[in-house]
């Protein structure tokens, strides 16, 4: 019998899919204090990313990076996570959906299961299931830190139910469990169930089905992964030997190339292959030759071009512009052969490789397609959902949103951005659910008792082969006051963490050193993890043995190990000197400041205002609309001017939005939840208070000095060209030859990154020209044509319509010369091996964007925010926090982050709004105990602190003894420590960085030197 219950939850958002996007969307909603139900058909959440070994462009291990997301479940009671659950039916409409959820039995009681693995050892056939290359990876967990952490039994395969039941030492196996069916009410639905990957089995010429050494890129990732089938060793599946030469073949299942392939570009595979090649050389053997056979290297994301350059220059990854014909293994041969040709010589080349990786693209998941169809969501022929051309996460059904690869192939940052955007829109449909906040753990005297230090070595073995974690643990144990030391197999393995917790409690540990990656990533996580076992968050120190030892000294294991030990000893010394502290709770301001009145800024402002936040929208110029005012249509045909008019109208009339045009930001102070910003409104000073800030300041259309731009009337930018096509169709009809040159002022020394939008914009213009004048001959001179995603289809259409695409190399750029009425463009056609001169009526330069460096620098200075080398605003984490900034409460969206097309800007705007709502939803905020404090008995009231403080915080006040002494308000203090450094009486100490902590660390660091 199926049990049918009704969930006691109104006004929830249903998130379908527990991959990275689903988790992000659910967490955003939960943090914004909205109820969420997160369902995934898999027994644990994490999705595709958890199978990856490392991600670009940081080449970090994903298991650690994703951990904070999966570990922090049930945020404030708003998040209801369900594994093994599918949506069986949906009724109703936006604001009032009724969904039927079916949860398959796990046959394991999650509460009881300790994941001891006994069942798996005794009944391996019944324990489900592991992905990847080999169905029996070392653990049957999907990845080592699965959430929830418990096994799943496949009862259908079980012949001995009773025996299985008995084998579990804690009685967690419930062989008679039944599926559970529930109904839930929800206001909106986010589909985040991801995509399937293209299966190349039927492409015999790649030999995937027949040759064990031909693998897909995900399989290769599993081979690289520590939790994969080879335990993190790179071995050939055919013979278990390490490979010497590995090749990647791009665009397998993408760009309409093969049978069954989508016409779109999967967008992520180029970077994925680059990453795999780099990791191969870096982590396994720098002697391994890595070759990528590609069509266009699509490194169009933020700073991706630099990553590509690093792959080529620093890692020596070989890139071959070719579409290989075959992958063969001639009889009797151990190696694979790839047959291919190159542009330069029309002869075929046979090259031998040990392994071939097929960079397989994304395709629509059939299950998801069915659900989408049930929801009556309109789909493309390839099964992916149709979305609005200005709102990539909105489907044809109101209240149903999509994000991540379910919407179309994409990488992690874009998935995260879309997830936040979807949660912004979905969240707007449901109300905040008030829930009591958990009390902050009290700072007790015990936590400051005689120091008993626990050392946790959390660096995964595979983070670097350079480090011997066992030896490090042994060493840690030998440090005085260290009462226990342990290693996590993987940084986020809950079972070993449970053991650690037990050890902490058993040994009466009151201070902890975490030896792992940078405290910039780790500290907050461990503070949260260790709070429940009574460790004060300020009695935790991180030894950065990953970045500072394992990684920088990867090539010198002895040095790396010695340094790691030293870093641990330093951290122990530091934590011994640390003091327990209590955080502050203060009321938060719930208004937002949006800087920049372009389409991105207006969209962000409207989303925030729609969710009840009061928004102050500041625009530098006198008019709203930004750079988009120069645009006519999107490539899909979206009317940009209508969009702007609509946004302006809504923005200016919204009661929650105050628009300040001709306004500059002049000063800024405070912190998240309590910002104070000074504006110069038409020259008059005005101060506003706000809790969060979104930067949407855009970027500047580039005007490089190249190809006679600005000198010859025939030469213009794509922006200008678009205008001409729109406004002077008669002129366009006269054109015989049009030449477009890509990457002008992008991907060069001055502006090393790709401007992302130029390839589609030239194709958009080419198509528009052909519409006016089908006889025009259009040449597009390009380096790599980066029509990612569905833009590929327009590329194809342009080719079909006769647009001629000619590849040029950066060493041999085209030349543009004035020739009377025309501009002569000279370029080399590689295929013909000839120089071609075209007398062009119009030369359209794809000049892209550059950062508004000057104004960004000024803003960055006022706000105290970092910029990238290129002058764009730097996000907190390029992968997982694409719109958050390093400074809490700051978010970035649109071209201020990096150049992108309008729809993407708007998605980012919504994502930033969603992230900002997670801040603005809070009535109070917790302030870290990062402030300076005065020992009033020592203070000489000398005023040095009063004068030194950059924020005028210290004051000489009279205390209860009547003494005038310095007082530093913890709420106002920014925690820079200047006063502490300058105090001549050493009466001031900065929490967390007290002199005794620094000096103890120094002592330890240099102990061996003077010994």
């Amino acid at each position: 019998m199926q049990k049918k219950t009704k969930l006691q939850s109104n006004g929830s958002v249903l998130v379908v899919g527990g991959g990275l996007g689903g988790i992000r969307a659910a967490l955003d909603l939960a943090e914004a204090r909205k109820d969420v139900i997160l369902v995934d058909k898999a027994p644990c959440i994490g999705g595709l990313m958890t199978q990856l070994d490392r991600t670009f462009p940081t080449n970090n291990c994903d298991l650690c990076t994703v951990a904070p997301f999966t570990a922090k479940d049930s945020r404030g009671g708003h998040l209801d996570m369900r594994g093994l659950t599918t949506v069986t039916a949906v009724k109703g409409k936006e604001g009032n959906f009724t969904v039927s959820l079916m949860t398959a039995p796990r046959f394991v009681n999650v509460e009881k299961c300790t994941a001891c693995g006994e069942c798996q050892r005794k009944y391996p056939e019944c324990v489900s299931f592991a992905p990847g290359l080999d169905p029996r990876a070392p653990t049957c967990m999907r990845y080592p830190k699965a959430t929830p952490y418990a096994y799943v039994i496949d009862m259908a395969k079980c012949a001995d139910k009773e025996g299985l039941k008995q084998c579990c030492p804690v009685g967690a196996i419930e062989t008679d469990a039944l599926p559970k069916v529930e109904e839930a009410q929800c206001g909106s639905i986010i589909l985040a169930a991801g995509a399937a990957l293209f299966d190349p089995s039927h492409l015999d010429y790649f030999g995937y089905a027949a040759q064990p050494d031909v693998v897909t890129s995900l399989e290769y990732e599993r081979i690289l992964s520590a939790s994969g089938p080879t335990g993190g060793k790179l071995l050939r599946p055919s013979n278990g030997q390490p490979p010497k030469k590995v090749a990647w073949i791009q665009c397998v299942g993408s760009r309409g190339l093969q049978k069954g392939a989508g016409a779109y570009c999967s967008s992520a595979c180029c970077m994925f292959a680059l990453k795999e090649a780099m990791v191969t050389r870096e982590r396994f053997d720098s002697e391994i030759e890595t070759t990528i056979f590609y069509m266009d290297m699509r490194a169009f994301g933020k700073d991706y071009e630099k990553y590509l350059n690093r792959a080529k220059e620093q890692y020596g990854v070989r890139l071959v512009h070719s579409r290989p014909h075959d992958v063969l293994r001639p009889v009797g041969m151990d190696k694979l052969q790839i047959l291919y040709t190159v542009d330069e010589a029309p002869k075929h080349i046979t090259e031998e490789f040990d392994m071939v990786v097929l960079s397989t693209g994304f395709k629509m998941n059939e299950d998801v397609k069915k659900l989408a169809e049930d929801l009556a969501v309109e789909l493309y022929a390839d099964g992916f959902p149709k979305t609005d051309c200005f709102n990539a996460v909105a489907t044809s059904v109101p209240g149903v949103y999509v994000c991540g690869t379910l919407q179309g192939g994409k990488d992690i940052p874009e998935t995260m951005t879309q997830a936040s955007a979807a949660s912004c829109l979905a969240g707007a449909k449901v109300a905040v659910t008030p829930r009591p906040k958990a009390e902050l753990p009290a700072v007790t005297p015990e936590c400051a008792g005689s120091p008993r230090v626990g050392v946790l070595v959390t660096l995964c073995d595979h983070e670097s082969t350079a480090l011997d974690t066992t030896a490090l643990v042994e060493y840690a144990k030998s440090i005085p006051h260290v009462v226990c030391a342990a290693a996590f197999e993987a940084a986020c393995d809950p079972s070993s963490f449970d053991a650690v917790k037990a050890a902490i409690l058993a040994n009466g540990v009151n201070r902890v050193v975490v030896a792992g990656s940078s405290p910039r990533y780790e500290l907050e996580k461990y503070q949260a993890m260790l709070a429940p076992v009574g460790i004060n968050k300020y009695l935790i120190e991180v030894a950065n043995i990953r970045e500072q030892a394992a990684w920088v000294h990867a090539g010198e294991p002895a040095a790396a190990n010695a340094k790691a030990k030293q870093l641990v000893a330093m951290a122990v010394a530091g934590v011994m000197a640390a003091k327990p502290l209590a955080d502050h709770v203060v009321p938060a301001n719930k208004n937002a400041l949006v800087v920049g009145g372009g389409v991105t800024g207006m969209t962000a402002a409207l989303e925030l205002a729609g969710q009840g936040a009061k928004v102050c929208l500041v625009e530098k110029t006198a008019e709203l609309g930004g750079v988009a005012r120069n645009l006519v249509k999107t490539i899909e045909g979206g009317d940009v001017q209508a969009l702007i008019a609509d946004l302006v109208e809504k923005t200016t009339s919204h009661p929650n939005i105050k628009v300040f045009t001709a306004t500059e930001i002049v000063d800024h102070s405070g912190q998240v939840g309590l910002f104070r910003t000074g504006l110069s409104v038409n020259g008059a000073y005005k101060e506003i208070e706000h809790g969060a800030t979104i930067l949407a300041t855009g970027a500047t259309p580039n005007q490089p000095q190249a190809f006679l731009l600005g000198e010859n009337s025939r030469v213009c930018t794509q922006l200008d060209l678009q205008k001409v096509v729109n406004e002077q169709p008669k002129e366009v009809k006269k054109w015989k030859n049009v030449v477009m040159i890509q990457c002008v002022g992008s991907r060069d020394a001055d502006n090393p990154n790709c401007s992302r939008l130029c390839c589609q914009s030239s194709i958009k213009n080419a198509l528009a020209i052909l519409k006016e004048n089908p006889n025009a001959r259009i040449f597009v001179l390009y380096r790599d044509l980066r029509t990612y995603g569905r833009f590929e289809e327009y590329y194809q259409k342009a080719r079909e319509l006769g647009v001629i695409f000619v590849r040029y190399s950066v060493d041999n750029p085209p030349k543009v010369e004035a020739a009377g009425h025309y501009a002569n463009v000279t370029f080399t056609d590689v295929i013909m091996g000839r120089q071609v001169v075209v007398s062009a009526d119009c030369v359209g330069l794809s000049t892209g964007f550059v950062a508004s460096r000057k104004s960004n620098e000024a803003l960055a200075k006022v706000f105290g925010l970092p910029l990238t080398d290129d002058g764009y605003f730097a996000e907190m984490h390029v992968k997982l926090r694409p719109v958050d900034m390093d400074k809490a409460g700051f978010f970035v969206a649109g071209c201020a982050h990096s150049p992108k097309v309008i729809a993407e800007n708007l998605t980012q705007a919504r994502a930033a709004a969603s992230r900002a709502m997670t801040v603005l939803a809070n009535d109070t905020l917790v302030q870290e105990a990062k402030f300076a404090h005065v020992d009033r008995a020592r203070c000489a009231a000398c005023l040095v602190c009063v004068r030194a403080c950059p924020f005028d915080v210290p004051q000489i006040t009279v205390d209860d003894k009547g003494l005038g002494r310095s007082y530093i308000d913890p709420v106002k203090c920014h925690g820079c420590g200047t006063c502490a450094a300058e105090c001549p009486a050493k009466a001031i100490q900065l929490n967390q960085f007290e002199d005794v902590q620094i000096l103890s660390s120094l002592d330890q660091l240099l102990a061996k030197v003077n010994a």
Partner: protein, 221 residues
């Protein structure tokens, strides 16, 4: 406030050459405020002395301590046990503190500072001389600016011929005291006061009269 500056390390090293256990004693009063002899400076000097001594092959043991005030016998008394453990005391107090220590303890006491002047803070990290302690204050007739402390020639009746552009001929960093006085008198509408000749100064209230003493009968035992 009494201001002071650290002596060159070399001189201090000379003083303490025969000794290896040093009590380095700061003062939390004036010299702390003028960043010469507070806890922080004590810490710096201790490090510096140890390093410099180590360079010549000697390991110094330095005990660092800072008294609330080194010019009072009661405070000085507090360090008796520390002094007993030391071969010599290096005091980072002003001359008063050094002497207080020397009077109390039969151990060598060396000054680590050069006591400079009675002054005030001009801005962070800058102090200037304001009072010469002449014992007979003139400020009432000089617009509140002391020509004795602040005029290079202690002129009491007006600026010398070297006053130009508001600065003293000695160095452009120093304002001409009389220029300041004049501005101040103008501001106060008291320029007529300037015409009064201040007669020859009675220096016996100043150092000219030998060591001075103040006795408050009601307080003195």
């Amino acid at each position: 406030m009494i201001t002071a500056e650290r002596k060159p390390l070399e001189e201090l090293l000379g003083y303490i050459a025969p000794y290896s256990r040093i009590l380095l004693l700061g003062c939390n009063e004036c010299v702390t405020v003028c960043a010469a002899g507070g806890r922080k400076e004590v810490g710096l000097l201790a490090s510096a002395l140890k390093m410099a001594a180590r360079k010549s092959g000697k390991e110094l043991q330095i005990v660092e301590h800072t008294l609330e005030r080194q010019c009072d016998p009661e405070y000085v008394e507090e360090v008796a046990s520390m002094v007993a453990q030391a071969d010599a005391v290096v005091s980072m107090a002003c001359g008063c503190g050094v002497q207080q220590m020397a009077m109390r303890y039969a151990k060598p006491v060396f000054p680590a500072l050069n006591t400079k002047f009675m002054g005030g803070s001009e801005r962070q990290g800058v102090w200037d001389e304001r009072c010469a302690g002449c014992g007979n204050c003139l400020l009432g007739v000089t617009g509140g600016i002391c020509p004795i402390a602040r005029c290079a020639k202690r002129l009491m009746n007006g600026p010398c011929g070297g006053s130009a552009n508001g600065v003293c001929e000695i160095t452009p960093d120093v304002p001409c005291a009389w220029h300041l006085i004049w501005e101040r008198l103008e501001e106060l509408g008291q320029t007529e006061d300037y015409l009064e000749i201040i007669p020859a100064k009675d220096w016996k209230t100043a150092q000219g009269g030998g060591p001075r003493k103040i006795i408050r009968e009601d307080l003195a035992e």
